[in-house]
Amino acid sequence: MKSAPFSVASKLVGDAAVIYPKGYLNNLSGESLVKECGIYIGKGITKIVVNFSETDLINSIGISLLLQIIEDLKNIKGTICCTNMSKFLRDTFEMLGLIQYMVVFSAESDALEYLNTGKR
């Protein structure tokens, strides 16, 4: 079965960018996620929320791309929050040890609240 092509949408909420990846993060089309985050980082945004509600699966290519975003934010002392993750995504990030580089929330609004107030 052929999966739907990967796409990315985004919006700015206050001083945080919310990114909505859609589809299986498993090939070069996932580079658009890095590019989208890069655009916000280039504009001085240091807080990024990635809402994974429409991305259930990820492979090593997707991990590599996510790694780039984490690295880019690390370099500017930024924050990445991941929300609405499937169990598979959460387990994968935990197993790889990536979870320590992100703040995980079940809902996007919680992440935005955290970024706004600094409280969980």
Partner: protein, 396 residues
């Protein structure tokens, strides 16, 4: 499920990702980029590089990289890499390499005894050394990348050789055509009245063959037959060829020998095209069997012979000859039509008219017939005539 088991499953799926990336239909640089992501994603390395070895320059070329200073990669000595284990990941600190800032693991890529390139990886984002299992996995991955790079190199070498052969073939073809043209000029030079006759007959014949839908190869054969159809005239004296008064029966017989002589000369050449010899031999045959040298008729005459016969006659009629003035284009076309069935083929005349009509209307980018016709010709009159003939010959 334990973390170890989950990690093992992740590594297995990473190998599957690698296989998919390598065997995908993507272009090479996209494949390499996917492979690169699979590796960095598998080991959580935030820096990495894949370099390929160019044997002819003894240099390493960066195919893709992230995070390393390019100058460091440019300084890597392939000879020193070759001293390391084949596809064996090796901590940089232990090796004899000049340092690549940020690189922790180097893996020379080999296929058999051929050094293919190298893979550099930084430390892991999560810190900590590469485990034994991870180094074993990297060894497996290195084998796969080496094979993919080697296949690409072999493919590129083959493509280069193919391109070189194609270029040489075109060069040979060019020389061959140049030789033919020189030869045709020598034939035509024997007779002051037939200058460029062979060239024009070749052009007209090829144009008809093209309109008939022949393959490029067969069109080229037709072209060559046009060039060489009168080569037998080289054996006829200049005095006879340029004679102003009518030929005696003996002289006519002598002149008529030229098509057989053309056949004898061309038979000694092994052409890559079929029927060239047949076409030059029989270009003076007629459908009614009253032609020469063999008085063949109808089914015995190939389309190539019929084309050459018409093209030759048309050019002969529209060219000045020592014993008569040249005909205008309309009269020559009228003469071809008059001799349908007896001398010329309906289908070939129809196609000839269609090509000329297209050329007059500017529908063909490179006209073959029109540029050689009398400049004083009234094209609108010719066009009307052609339209009428096309309509008549197309009727069921």
């Amino acid at each position: 499920m334990s973390t170890e088991l989950k990690k093992a499953l992740y590594n297995i799926s990473a190998l599957a990702d690698l296989g998919q990336a390598i065997t995908s239909e993507s272009v090479f640089h996209e494949k390499i980029q996917s492979v690169f992501y699979v590796i960095t994603g598998t080991f959580l390395a935030n820096k990495g590089a894949i370099l390929s070895y160019d044997k002819s320059s003894n240099r390493l070329n960066t195919l893709t990289q992230k995070g390393f200073p390019q100058a460091d990669l440019d300084r890597v000595d392939p000879e020193k890499l070759m001293a390391l284990g084949k596809n064996e990941p090796c901590p940089i600190g232990d090796g004899p390499l000049s340092p690549v800032s940020g690189a922790e693991i180097v893996t020379p890529l080999w296929v058999g005894d051929g050094f293919i390139g190298v893979l550099f990886l930084s430390g892991k984002l999560t810190g900590g050394p590469y485990t034994e299992e991870e180094l074993e996995l990297l060894n497996v991955i290195a084998h796969q990348i080496a094979i993919a790079l080697n296949n690409h190199t072999l493919f590129m070498d083959l493509s280069d050789k193919l391109e070189e052969n194609r270029r040489l073939y075109e060069e040979m073809r060019h020389i061959y055509h140049g030789t033919l043209q020189a030869f045709a000029a020598a034939i035509d030079a024997k007779d002051a009245y037939t200058q460029n006759h062979s060239y024009r007959v070749a052009k007209y014949s090829a144009a008809i063959a093209r309109e008939l839908g022949w393959s490029e190869h067969d069109i080229e054969g037709m072209y060559v037959a046009g060039y060489l159809h009168d080569v037998g005239k080289l054996a006829i004296s200049n005095d006879l060829l340029n004679k102003v008064t009518p030929f005696t029966p003996a002289e006519r017989m002598e002149i008529r020998k030229h098509s057989t002589t053309s056949h004898e000369i061309t038979s000694k050449i092994k052409f890559p095209w079929k029927n060239v010899q047949d076409m030059v031999w029989h270009h003076h045959e007629r459908l009614d069997g009253r032609g020469y040298p063999e008085a063949l008729a109808h089914e015995s005459l190939s389309d190539g012979v019929r084309i050459l016969s018409l093209a030759d006659s048309f050019d002969a009629m529209t060219s000045q000859r020592p014993y008569r003035k040249k005909m205008d284009v309309q009269s020559a076309i009228g003469e071809l039509k008059k001799c349908l069935e007896s001398q010329f083929d309906n289908k070939i005349l129809l196609v000839f008219c269609k090509v000329l009509e297209k050329e007059i209307k500017g529908e063909l980018p490179e006209p073959d017939i029109l540029p050689h016709l009398d400049r004083n010709s009234d094209l609108s009159v010719i066009s009307s005539m052609l339209e009428a003939i096309i309509q008549e010959l197309s009727a069921p």
